[in-house]
Structure formats: C-alpha cells, structure tokens
Symmetry: C2
Subunit: 327 residues, 2 copies
C-alpha cells in the first residue's frame, strides 16, 4: 500500500508512522511506501527505513507533484494550529483551507479514488448567543466554530464530504480531541499548555497554566488518537454512518484532575512547578470547546476513550526520551 501522510513529520504524524511500521499493515496489506509530506524533515530514525520517503516543503507547493502519483491511503494531518491561525488570518486560510483544497484536487486528478482520512478537530464546536453549546456533544450537534482554525477545519470537512460524494476520493473526517501528553514543546496551539503542565514538571521545569482548575477539557492520548485515525481509514464506508465527520472519543477531565494525576504519578514537587497565570486569549479559545461527548458513531467503529488521566500520563512517561530527569 502506498500511503501519504501530510504533516508526517509532526507529533501525531510521527506516531502514526511508527504505528504503521509496527503493525506492518493497513487495510490488510503491507505499507510498501510511506510518503511524509511536511515543512520539516521526518524523525531522524526514519532515515534508514527504505519505505519512508520525505517530501519536504509547503504542502500547497507539493500538490502538482502529488497529482502525478496514485496513493492507496492518505492521512491529511498537516495544517497550521489554533493559536497561529488566530494570530495570522491569512496563514490559516493558506495552510488549512487552500492546502486542503489543493490536496483534494491533486487526489482527484490522480484519478484512483484513494481512501483519505482528514484530521479535523474538536475546535469546530462552540456556541453562538442564539444557539448555546449543549451539555453533551452528540453526532448531530451543530458545530459553531469560534476560531478561524475551527472554521477552516469545518470547511475542509465539507470539501472532503463532497469530493467523496462525487467519487473523487473515499474520504472520512475525524474530529480529534486535544492530544495529550505531547512530548515536544507545543508550537502555536492554544491547547499546548494541557501537555506542558505535565511534561515540563516531569522534566523538572517550571511551567504556567493559563486557565483555572475548573476548566474541563476533552482529551485523548496519542496512542488513542492514532488508533482512531487507523480505524477510520480501515472502516468500510457503510460502517461510517454517512459522510459527516466522526467525533472521536474523549476523556473529559478538569485541569485540576490533570494536576492531581500529575501529583499521583510525579509527586508533590512536580505539581508545585505549575504556576497559574490567566491568559484571556487561551481561555477564550480553549474555553469555547466542549468537553463532554457522546460519540455514538465512533463507538460503533469500536473506538473508546482513554480510561483515566493517570494512564495517559504513564503512557507519556513510557515514551523513549519523554522524561529526561527522574520524576
């Protein structure tokens, strides 16, 4: 199987590549070629793996070349992150909307109707004054994105659905929850602190939490997220319940519970390294996202949320190189 992973050198992309290399198959056949399209080079340890081919550069500029290949499976993970899209409107439109459109047109031009998984986001949800956010998000909940990032993800979901309906691709969109704990320092994602408040203390570094203890968030561990992406790629179309994006499962936790788990796993010293300093911009973006999901379609696909915060933190600590000092 020839697989394209956009954003293939990013945090989720790298873990997805590792998972595919480990399971040695996708859709019942071995991944014979993994093309990793990204702004940066793939992880160093991929350099010696023959089936991994880097494609470095802005995605939108790679699409003419991609149109000349035929991929069996495409994971479209690339994109600018929430905080950056809010700070730079044109960057978001180009990196998320225009690049997705160019990719879809390239796959359409290739002409082999590849299977495509689009990584959308919980950030599509929000509330308008006339239509408040319901307490529980269901498959039929109307997304009301309150950030440019959420708007762009939601638009791309629509494009994926229509290119699929027209038979140009076999696309399916999954809405990722906030992925934590990330082992690398977050870039411009507004939700980056949700990893930092665990990762930094476990590495004996001080960190800042920009939201109050009571804020609830919808999390998924990296391995839970990767499993969901692969399951979405492998699901037969009739199991999907339509072309609309699937809400991935979420573990609902308050920020205070994350810190309790940090203390349980890393000790009181670790927790003491977290200082509180409210950031209105981050509180507004992350606070507009819902935290409680009833993801019936995802459940039907066999997807389940992580069981608890402690296990998410332990998953992070077991990652090679994640923790550099004793915790």
């Amino acid at each position: 199987m020839k697989v394209l992973i956009t954003g293939g050198a990013g945090f989720v992309g790298t873990q997805l590549v590792r998972a595919l290399l480990k399971r040695k198959e996708i859709l019942g056949r071995p991944p014979t070629e993994l093309v990793l399209a990204d702004l940066i080079k793939p992880a160093a340890d991929f350099a010696s793996i023959a089936c991994v081919r880097p494609l470095v550069g802005p995605l939108i500029e790679s699409c003419d070349a991609l149109a000349k290949e035929q991929f069996d499976v495409v994971f479209h993970l690339a994109g600018a992150v929430s905080g950056d899209c809010e700070a730079d409107f044109d960057l978001g439109l180009r990196s998320n909307l225009d690049s997705c459109r160019a990719l879809l047109d390239a796959l359409r031009a290739a002409g082999n109707c590849p299977r495509l998984v689009f990584a959308s986001s919980v950030a599509v949800f929000g509330s308008d004054p006339g239509i408040p956010l319901p307490a529980v998000i269901r498959d039929s909940t109307l997304p009301l994105p309150q950030s440019s990032y959420g708007i762009q993800k939601f638009i791309c979901e629509q494009l994926v659905a229509d290119y699929t309906r027209k038979g140009f691709i076999d696309g399916r969109s999954g809405r990722l929850m906030t992925v934590a704990i990330r082992s690398s320092r977050s870039n411009g994602a507004a939700s980056g602190f949700l990893s930092a408040i665990v990762r930094e203390p476990l590495n004996a570094k001080d960190t800042v939490c920009p939201v109050p203890l009571e804020m609830a968030v919808a999390l998924a561990s990296p391995s839970n997220t990767i499993s969901a992406l692969i399951a979405l790629a492998e699901a037969p179309r009739e199991a999907l319940g339509g072309r609309t994006a699937v809400n991935f499962p979420a573990l609902t936790v308050q920020v205070g519970e994350i810190l309790n788990a940090l203390e349980a796993v890393g000790g009181r010293d670790a927790r003491a390294r977290v200082r509180f300093k409210p950031d209105p911009a981050i509180m507004r973006i992350v606070g507009s996202w819902p935290s409680v999901f009833e993801s019936t379609r995802a459940h039907f696909l066999g997807l389940r949320p992580d069981t608890d915060m402690n296990s998410i933190i332990r998953q992070f600590m077991n990652e090679p190189g994640a923790v550099h000092v004793g915790a």
Copy 2:
C-alpha cells in the same frame, strides 16, 4: 448609502433593486448608488436610473476593482445554481466558493467593515445514514448538504461568519427557501419546476412536473424573500442571535397543493397543462431538502412565511408582464 448587489441582474437581484428604489432607504438613509455586479446587464428599465451602475462580468474578475471602493451595504446573491453545480463540479467551486472568497477579501481590503448579507439556501440541509433529517428544522439543526451547491453555500456561511468575527465585515447569512413563482424560465436550478408548473400553464403552455404530488417543499414568494433580505441587512447585530446563518421563514406545501392553488386561480385548463414525468436527478436533489421549519431567530427578526399558495400565485399574476394570456 453605496450598495453593492452581486447577482444584481438576476431574478432576486432585480426585485431587490426595485424594492430599494421604491422604499428609497436602507438603514435609514437613501441608496445613493446601486452597483449591480452580474454576468449580464441589469433590467432595461434601470438604464435610465442615475444611481444604478452596472458592473458586468464574472464576479471573481471584478473583485480587484471592488476592493478599491467602499460600500456601505453588500447583498451577495451571485452564484451558480443547484443543478448546474451538480453537473459541473468546477463551475460550482469557482462561481460559488472562490467568488465568495474573492469578494470577502475585496471587502476586507477596502477596510470599512461594510454590512454584508449573504444569500445561502435551504439546500444546506439533508440527511446522512447515521443522522437522519429531523421532521422539523430548527436553528440548531445540523446541515448535512447532499449536493455540491449546498456544500458550497454552507462553506460560504462559515467564511462570512469568520470574516465577521474578525471585524473585516459585518456579515449575516440568510438561508433562502425555494423562491416561487419566478417570472422567468429557470436556468439550471433543480427547483425550477416549482415555478414552471404554475407559470407555464398560466401562460397557456404545457409543462412537466418531475416529482410526485406528495413531495413537500419549503417555499417563499419573491416579495417575502426580498423583505427577509432587507430585514437581515437592517437588523442590529445583537438581534441576530449569533453569526450562524438564519433560516428564513418557509411556507410548507405539497406539490399537489400547488396544483390545487393553480386550479383555484387559473382554472381546470391550467392544471391540465401539467404532465408528470419523474426525473430521478431532480427528485434526489429537491427531495433531500427539508420542508418544515421552526425559524425562531427569523421570527424574532419579525419575519413571517407567506400565508398560503393562492396568495403566492396571485402575487405572481400581479407582476407586470408575468402572464401574457388570459388565465
């Protein structure tokens, strides 16, 4: 007030211009300049009206020029219609999505945050296997467009909402119901027959109805639609209940009821001119649209549906030149 109307030479656009000229004000001030951007020239009787300025050509090619002007109010009505978008995927993307994006960027470049009304459509609604269409469409109902036209309209709603949130425009989207009775022959709109089955018989011409008598549709008369567009333009932002598109009011009628009204107003001979010949493509598109609405936000803006089908047909017959033979 300097007003831009894209699609200003179309059926709805022309009626909107007439309404603005008749009421002599918009947002409490006289319309001093009406720029009608369209592929075709405006109605002949506008040629002698000093404040009307045609801008003939594809909208996307006019946007560089539009960016150099400052409009107070913009009605964005231009676009390819449902049947044409389904037949020609690239036409729909260019005429609906790319042109809207170019217009929004032109208004953003102009820098004066104009008020903008975007004409979206009932066609954003549909059903997926996992998420059936509810019996009644409310403001919080999730759109699941089942046509490229519906997808493109829904995407443009998202862009209008985000350009508004960022302060580039003061935009508001309204979802138009099927506008009937149209006095001109329909172009490629899948819903064109809903006007033709009344217009053609009243003009002593045979016509074909491509759907069964039982199919229910959501209609609004031209005058009802124009009133809604103007009300949306004039509404203060806090009255809108958020940035999400407002579902305009709808009169729910079955096709059989339209023909009963045709007979009541035009006689048995008129009704006898309607022949039935099922068209699967039209049945699929129009049948995927909902017919019953509970439009709370529109109601709050003072908008009401037409009272009955007979009055809609009489409104059409009173239009100058609509009926060329005695009915």
